[in-house]
Symmetry: D2
Subunit: 311 residues, 4 copies
């Protein structure tokens, strides 16, 4: 530990020094790729097709910083965000990615030295779902959004729209294994059990779909949620009466899937449902099962582009 000593210390200060500390010249000439603030939480009004909702996103905003500047003016980021959020109260954004786009553009305006900016946000989001017999439940999903603005002429923006869906995955391999054991140990049951799904391990699966597209491509998060939820063994539901619960269990076991299957089925649905997405659309798909029989998770992922998927 190099302990500080005050003996003889004199802080050198030229009287005329610029009081804008951020503008001082830094030691070394290193460009920084991302400078900003993270973990800002603000309520944001969003005008959805189904009416206005209030989201509480966790937001990060960044710009790059050229080598000749000591610091980025971080309070400007918070100002940009504050104005964006205030604005959303009068003029609601239409989506979380719309908010990120506005923020990313405004960040470039306020940080005149930056050549690039980024705003990203995550928020819980609720949709009403039928849960049987006309009953409904507000189900929780997660929205992911990001926008990156490049200082070109004109400014070029790419935006990412993502969703995270918690559903059920039932394991096809364990189900097969159970059938084999029963067939071997109780051969007289072999015929009947081949006609119905068997027990298997099943668990919460978190499936994620993220698409990054040019600013003018419109995608609707609700559609992405439906797409993803449809590829799980079954959805999870907050409210289930007795028979609905049993039917949901049967549905999941009628449709057993590995994490690999879920990722491929989401990829397949994206290819079929979004034929017009440009080739350079980035596509990230994930599925993670909180395995009921293990303490660890099973995980599958594909990182690709629409062009590659279609080729």
């Amino acid at each position: 530990m190099t302990q500080a000593s005050l003996r003889g210390r004199v802080i050198s200060r030229s009287v005329a020094r610029d009081t804008d500390v951020q503008a001082w010249e830094p030691k070394g000439r290193y460009r920084l790729t991302r400078v900003g603030v993270t973990n800002l939480v603000k309520p944001v009004r969003v005008r959805r097709p189904s009416g206005e909702v209030v989201l509480q996103p966790v937001i990060d905003v960044f710009v790059d910083l050229p080598p000749e500047l000591k610091g980025s003016h971080l309070s400007r980021n918070v100002e940009v965000l504050g104005e964006g959020v205030d604005l959303s109260l009068r003029d609601p954004v239409t989506s979380l990615e719309d908010l990120c786009q506005r923020l990313a553009r405004q960040l470039l305006v306020r940080h005149e030295y930056a050549s690039w900016s980024q705003a990203q946000a995550r928020a819980d989001y609720f949709l009403e779902r039928e849960v049987g017999n006309g009953r409904t439940s507000l189900e929780r999903y997660r929205l992911i959004a990001r926008a990156q603005a490049h200082r070109e002429d004109p400014i070029r923006v790419r935006k990412l729209i993502g969703v995270e869906v918690v559903g059920i995955s039932a394991c096809p391999c364990a189900m097969e294994g159970v059938r084999e054991i029963i067939s071997k140990e109780r051969p007289e049951l072999s015929g009947p059990i081949d006609q119905i799904p068997m027990m298997s391990h099943n668990q919460r699966n978190v499936a994620t779909l993220m698409l990054e597209v040019p600013e003018d491509v419109e995608l609707e998060a609700n559609d992405l949620i439906d797409l993803v939820e449809g590829q799980l063994s079954a959805p999870t539901k907050e409210l289930l009466k007795r028979e609905d619960e049993a039917r949901l269990v049967i549905q999941a076991h009628s449709n057993p899937k590995f994490v690999e299957d879920i990722v491929r089925d989401i990829l397949d649905a994206v290819v079929r449902q979004y034929p017009d997405l440009p080739d350079d659309t980035s596509v990230i798909v994930r599925s993670e099962s909180k395995e009921s029989i293990h303490k660890h998770n099973a995980f599958a992922e594909r990182v690709t582009t629409m062009g590659e998927l279609r080729s």
Copy 2:
């Protein structure tokens, strides 16, 4: 915002003032029930029956503070902990609760003004388990320990020994519901399916047992882990080959349990296996299922004493 002004501010300092800021007289005369440091992480050597292991507990230590003192000497807590940990390198503790007991006693020695002290710790802990065909796997558990020392003559210490076990719970209600649906819709299968367990939802369940006893009562965490793990529908295993996985699924479904059943079965096993625990032993049992069909968890708990359980 009451903004600070330096105009005319003079910090009042009597020249002869005691430099022990903690000993200054506080504003108001309020006793504090717990003052200390939290979230200390240190590796600790523990001599277990099966050999020496290194735990990495997260530790909190506290004492009470009489109304006439401004501050507790927090660095003494860290010293006590550091000495305890150093000591464990030369003279390993025998358990996490043994560490907490030593710390709680030493805290009373060092904080001469305190009438009470507490040390609590949580750590991951690994046991080798058979996973089929002679293979083994190191399975992860969680140890919970706490000791409270009361300044009486002699000092009286109570210690808490707890374990957290992740296992499988399979739902008996959904299984019944599935049988009913199949019996109704496929009556010809009704006989065969009554002879085997049916599919149900199953998931990770975190079951907890904590016992608080006088200092001289010895309990072995490994035994508590076995006790708890035995009451789940089945244990979770990190390594499962194909047939072992199917057999574990059958085991869990042959033994379907609500969270309520798991708590009651742990209580029952405690009563049967620990007949000699004193009546004033505190008993806390919990079971929480990360429901595969819901986004929320199911939870059951009993907080009681051995005396009450036996009555």
Copy 3:
């Protein structure tokens, strides 16, 4: 591992068995103190003095379970919650504790076998604060609420209202130590530096106040937030321009406090500002500093009653 075998297994089922699995008689005769669902997240409309806000609380609900019942009907908990939340859309609750009270009462209605019920919730909450020069910022706080209903005639409800505030704590002890070092090593500076606050370590402090009162006592969370925020060395602010930031730093250092001081000052403010709270009001006050000079936290707490505080 006791592996399951299907050889000869026959599931015993009496044809006329009650299909309400929860009503089956459990093994053992153990009462459970809390059975319910945890980690439910739902958006809730709350009519605040300043207008309507949408909170996204994480909610847990529980009832007790008598020994003769195997299971609690957990879906009823979710129904109660769903109805409470739906109701809040038409008839907004007035606070998070109002929501919890409604839920706790309704839980007793729906679980006719329960003698006690509990609903607890936590939610982020935003208040507009001045941050200097007429600018404002939406600052984030945390609301904590709980209600417990006891089946007496009439039903008796106690509710807990709590707030969590993130502010700054600056350490008085390190500031004194810095003065001493400077006075000793640079005696010529001793006079000037006694007239202004000195550098010290400062950090985020999470201060908590929770009061549990009978149902008919009204407390306003905004007032509790103001009370707690006023006892920290200074508040934290999301938006600070250069001079405001420096003034906030001076404010915090003009008002250095231990975690112990913060707890005592909150206790003192509660005693002064709430003279009419009943003697049996439970009072919990905490302060935890994420120490900038350590990897661990400093912590102080008082658990008491209003009667004890006033005596």
Copy 4:
């Protein structure tokens, strides 16, 4: 909700079907970029220069999966890990990245269909540090490691070695602002205060350095920790007696730094201390301050290569 029906369901099973479900042909022809298991926790023995230590890393392992296979054999991942860990008991690895390298190579052996594999790990790590007057304290750091193996002839492996260090950052801008306010409002103090550091906001800063290099380049994590810790305003220390604490505060304030400064200073130290690292070495440097005056964090990052840094 598409509810499952059992009416008329017949599970199609060819008698001779391959029982290796993972080898079935999947629907769609999509390659997967990462398939594996996450969140495995195992104790691992590591032979460090200073003696043997036990780490408890959280480990993820992945391989890619060609389009013609339905599933990856996930249990092989756990076997590879189990063998690696068992092996470490007899033949301790020399570092966390050494473990990851062994795992990545072995993954390619066991998943004969994979063209790529990855193993990553994170673990707490403790080093003894002087804390003043000959006292020492075990300080906590975080190790990050990753290895990626590419099936070429011979197999090519790149490994990432990273460290995360918690230290103090003191803000230079607020310190300047404080000086200005005091100089303006108490001009008579202007001379003296220019000779010593002033109060500022200071907080925990998490600084990260990660270097990805070819397998045969040796880097020592202890050196990286020293390098990073040396670029913070000051280190954090678990144990500080009164004067040591004040000196640490003075040290931090004598060395105020933005998150941007910390990143640049780490980059500069890497360039100076590692002149022999190949040009294609990936370099990631981050600094995140848990701002004491805000509820959000300040963040800076550079993602680059050694070649780019030196150019």
